[in-house]
């Protein structure tokens, strides 16, 4: 049943998430069936390398020598010029280097997904652990909450939430809580929050299921018997055991949210002036048949990133189940 959860948050990414959760839920399925055994093969290191590269892009894109800025017009070149030695992915509608934009685009595309995943884990983890630990009334209430969130199609929920919160321009006070921020930044923040809320219910389900399992274990029951405080049990006995499943999940979660973020950008939701993979795909889309390089560049970056994350999540699940099997 757990297959439902992330599929909802994932919206269009339904399929991606189906199986890793299944795997997490009954770890035996994947304990002995790795494609290449459990050794870290070429793909493993390639995926790690790519993600390191993306992390560098996120952190240091502005300081990479020779890399044009995302809004920097390449002088003396035609707009939409095709790929060349100097500009690997060619130029876009406004004469910007598509390769440079793909690198700069990592910041918001990945950043939003990462922060939203962490947000989702915090919100969803809290709900799930509390529901699983206290059970009864609290469980019923929180489960109802989760069900409500899950019953609304993910993308619809995201579009509505962002529409509800994000500023609409004009003279309105452009603030986020107590901080003065540009309206575009505000839109990004709210898009991130919407994504966190979106990811929360499915994470909560995983956390709840795991908590239910672990809190019936002898050592937890023992702690209870000797009168340990609930918070202490949750933090010392439960969390360390529930977390591994959530981390595997988080890797998948990032992959899904990268795509959802791109989808939202594709819908013009969030900050459409920002450089993001989804936004750039959308910008180039009308000219896919004449200048496909505008779409191919950001698509490639997004594809490799999501692929790496999926692959690593797969591997991580395997390690994890092996470890668990050894317990």
């Amino acid at each position: 049943m757990s297959a439902v959860e992330m599929s909802e948050s994932g919206g269009p990414m339904v399929p991606q998430v189906v199986d890793p959760i299944e795997l997490i839920d009954d770890g035996n399925a994947s304990s002995n069936d790795g494609y290449q055994g459990n050794q870290k093969g070429f793909f493993f290191w390639a995926a790690i390398a790519w993600l390191i590269f993306i992390v560098i892009c996120v952190l240091a894109a502005d300081w990479i020598p020779g890399l044009p800025g995302p809004e920097e017009r390449i002088a003396d070149r035609d707009i939409r010029e095709g790929p060349s030695a100097a500009h690997w992915f060619g130029l876009n509608n406004r004469g910007h280097d598509v390769f440079a934009r793909s690198i700069h685009g990592a910041r918001i595309s990945m950043g939003v997904a990462l922060v939203a995943t962490i947000g989702g884990i915090v919100i969803g983890g809290t709900i799930g652990v509390l529901a699983g630990f206290y059970r009864r009334g609290i469980d019923a209430t929180l489960t109802a909450l989760i069900n409500i969130m899950l019953a609304v199609p993910g993308l619809v929920l995201a579009l509505t939430l962002v529409g509800f919160f994000a500023p609409s321009g004009g003279f309105e006070d452009q603030r986020f809580l107590f901080f003065d921020v540009a309206p575009t930044t505000n839109a990004t923040i709210w898009a991130t929050i919407a994504l966190s809320i979106l990811a929360a219910p499915s994470i909560a389900r995983v956390a709840r299921a795991q908590t239910l399992v672990w809190s019936d274990r002898e050592f937890v029951l023992a702690s209870r018997t000797i009168g340990t405080r609930n918070m202490r049990i949750i933090f010392r006995d439960l969390l360390p055991n529930v977390l591994p499943a959530m981390v595997s999940f988080a890797l998948i979660g990032i992959a899904v949210l990268v795509v959802v973020q791109a989808t939202l950008a594709f819908f013009g939701v969030g900050d459409v002036t920002a450089t993001t993979w989804g936004g750039d795909i959308n910008i180039g889309r009308d000219r896919l048949d004449s200048e496909p390089h505008m779409v191919l560049g950001p698509s490639l970056f997004m594809f490799l990133t999501v692929l790496s994350l999926n692959y690593l999540a797969d591997k991580f699940t395997q390690f994890n189940s092996v470890r668990e099997a050894g317990v």
């Binding site: 809004e71 406004r94 609409s168 309105e172 013009g268 459409v272």
Partner: protein, 623 residues
């Protein structure tokens, strides 16, 4: 997907051109007369050298035409309650007819449902002869009373009323309609040559609609008789006089509006003009919001004809040459940057409202920090905007740079309006004055755009030109706004600068409401003069062009308006909208519409054209 958003943008902005009783645009077409010296964003029928020859046999009846339209336009199709964008205009043009047809000749309209017309000397009493023998689809005859009913519905509607507020009285007698205006209104007929209120609907159908103004209790125009009848009419099933009869409508992207041949069309074999219209058996308008999808559907034969104002797409069709296409920008809308200049007081408004004290334009000081209230700042920005580059890069090099609200071919067009040319040095000089006027070292403002990626990119390009010219001393915050909120910001004046498209029309008189200082309400309340400017020269000439019938005087007045726009830079002009209508080679005579008397019309209005004279080779539009 953002195309969905962009269609709503288009819907919204084109609607601007229509709802105020002004008209969509007209585009010139056919290479028949020499509009050439008027200069031309040349309307071309880049057509069909191959297929025109085959067409020599003359029109053939039969066939179903599938038309890919850009938006699910506003149902209801009742003039008094609709903001009509191009898709809506296309639908209206099949199920009903306008009172007049705009003619090829600049500033002239020809007869259609109105057969002849005249006005008294001071243009306050207008006598129109309604064509005899015309019937609505429900069998109701079109007489002067029916026309009066339609016009009154528009007049008393809170949405379409303001544009017609100059009408004091309408009297009907048999086929003779007498309209009295409260002040001289020479170009009255130009407001009924394709605007939404120029389309006639069956009074029986209109009266059955639940929200017809006559049902408003307590209003002076309240009709007990109508209020007593059941309000059970279907607003989605228009009953007009047109060549096609409504058959079905399903709302939503991918769904369609279907109308079938009207066997009793007044211009048909059973009609009164001795013609044999329409030729098609059926027209089906399919909503296809996304332009890429719409084009592919034409290319793969799903659609027989589509329309678009996406210059890239038009260029692609032009280059491929596989599909004949009409391109037209005459009388089209202008893309520009709306600037909020609300400041000081508005005496005109106070006068109109009968107040003693002038109305403050910015009572809450919301527009205080806007540097664009200073002429020097507006001029600096205009000088720094390379509109040609915008046209080249964002308009595929085929749209034309605008220098005012009147595109070539319209009354009031000027080659040189005095609008600031692209000139960095001049821009920088003005910018110094601007900084002094605004009392700051850094000029800051927000620039709204819809969240459609195409528009965002265009506006980013423009903002980057300003940054190129003024460096760090200008800080423009581009703010994408959700489509649904966008028009509201303009109406209420809650913006500093905002991308916009408007002012298509067959006559300068169509623009009266958008530019008059009396419609420039304070920030916070709804104003049709979105930029909230008050220009005595424009006011005076708007009134002048309305009061006299002489074309030359009117032209001079319109030119004065155009120059005043240029000098005061109320808006930053970008480009004139270009429409393209590509179609399958089998489709014939898309733009050859004539009046019953044989006069050649301006058949394309803002991308919209007439449907009744289209025919298909061998009665097969798909080929």
């Amino acid at each position: 997907m953002t195309k969905l958003l962009s269609m709503l943008f288009a819907l919204a902005l084109v609607a601007a051109a229509c709802s105020g009783g002004d008209d969509g645009t007209t585009a010139d077409t056919t290479a028949t007369t020499a509009e050439e010296e008027e200069s031309g964003p040349a309307t071309t029928v880049a057509a069909t050298t191959t297929t025109v020859a085959e067409a020599a046999d003359g029109p053939v009846a039969g066939g179903t035409l599938v038309y890919g339209i850009e938006a699910d336009s506003a149902n209801p199709w009742a003039h008094y309650r609709v903001s009509c964008a191009i898709a809506c205009h296309m639908i209206l043009r099949s199920v009903t007819d306008p009172l007049f047809y705009p003619l090829e000749e600049v500033g002239a309209v020809g007869p259609h449902l109105i057969e002849s017309w005249e006005a008294n000397e001071d243009n306050t009493v207008h006598t129109w002869q309604v064509r005899d023998g015309v019937q609505f689809h429900d069998g109701t005859p079109l007489d002067a009373a029916a026309v009066a009913f339609n016009l009154n519905a528009c007049r008393f509607s809170s949405l379409t009323g303001p544009a017609l507020s100059g009408i004091a009285d309408i009297q009907a007698d048999g086929q003779t309609l007498t309209i009295t205006t409260s002040s001289p209104w020479a170009p009255l007929v130009a407001n009924f040559g394709g605007s939404t209120c120029s389309y006639m609907f069956s009074p029986a159908w209109l009266a059955s609609l639940p929200d017809i103004p006559f049902r408003t209790e307590g209003a002076p125009f309240f009709s007990e008789e109508i209020a007593a009848t059941p309000a059970d009419g279907d607003p989605a099933a228009p009953v007009g006089t047109g060549a096609f009869v409504f058959e079905s409508y399903t709302p939503g992207n991918g769904n369609s509006f279907v109308a079938v041949k009207n066997e009793n069309y007044w211009r048909g074999p059973n009609g009164v003009t001795g013609e044999s219209l329409p030729y098609l058996d059926k027209v089906e308008y399919v909503v296809a919001v996304d332009i890429a999808s719409r084009s592919s559907a034409l290319e793969s034969g799903q659609f027989d004809i589509i329309h678009t104002s996406n210059a890239d797409e038009i260029k692609t069709f032009q280059d491929d040459g596989e599909f004949p296409m009409i391109t037209a920008s005459d009388f089209g809308a202008t893309s520009y940057i709306l600037l909020n200049v609300a400041a000081g007081e508005n005496p005109t408004l106070a006068f109109l409202q009968g107040l003693d004290a002038p109305v403050p334009m910015d009572p809450n000081g919301l527009n205080d920090g806007n540097p664009l209230v200073h002429l020097s700042c507006r001029r600096a920005l205009a000088h720094a905007t390379d509109s040609q580059r915008v046209a080249d890069e964002r308009g595929a090099g085929i749209v034309e740079v605008a220098n005012g609200p009147f595109p070539p071919g319209s009354i009031g067009y000027l080659e040189d309006t005095g609008y600031p040319q692209f000139d960095i040095a001049a821009a920088q000089a003005e910018f110094e004055t601007c900084k002094a006027d605004a009392g700051t070292d850094v000029i800051q403002f927000t620039y709204n755009t819809t969240n459609d990626p195409f528009n965002v990119e265009t506006n980013q390009l423009i903002a980057s030109m300003w940054a190129d010219a003024f460096g760090d001393e200008i800080q423009v915050t581009i703010t994408p706004v959700e489509q649904g909120q966008y028009i509201g910001l303009a109406l209420t004046g809650t913006f500093q600068a905002q991308g916009w498209r408007n002012h298509s029309g067959i006559d300068p008189d169509n623009q009266f409401l958008w530019w008059f200082s009396g419609t420039s309400s304070p920030v916070g309340s709804l104003a049709l003069n979105f930029g909230r400017f008050q220009d005595p020269v424009i006011d005076e000439n708007l009134v002048l062009q309305r009061s006299v019938g002489d074309l030359e005087t009117r032209r001079a007045a319109a030119e004065a308006i155009n120059r005043s726009f240029g000098e005061n830079v109320w808006n930053i002009w970008n480009t004139w909208t270009l429409w393209g209508v590509p179609f399958s080679p089998n489709v014939q005579n898309v733009v050859g519409a004539t009046t019953p008397e044989g006069d050649i019309t301006k058949p394309v209005i803002g991308g919209a054209h007439y449907m009744s004279e289209i025919w298909c080779l061998n009665g097969d539009c798909q080929g």
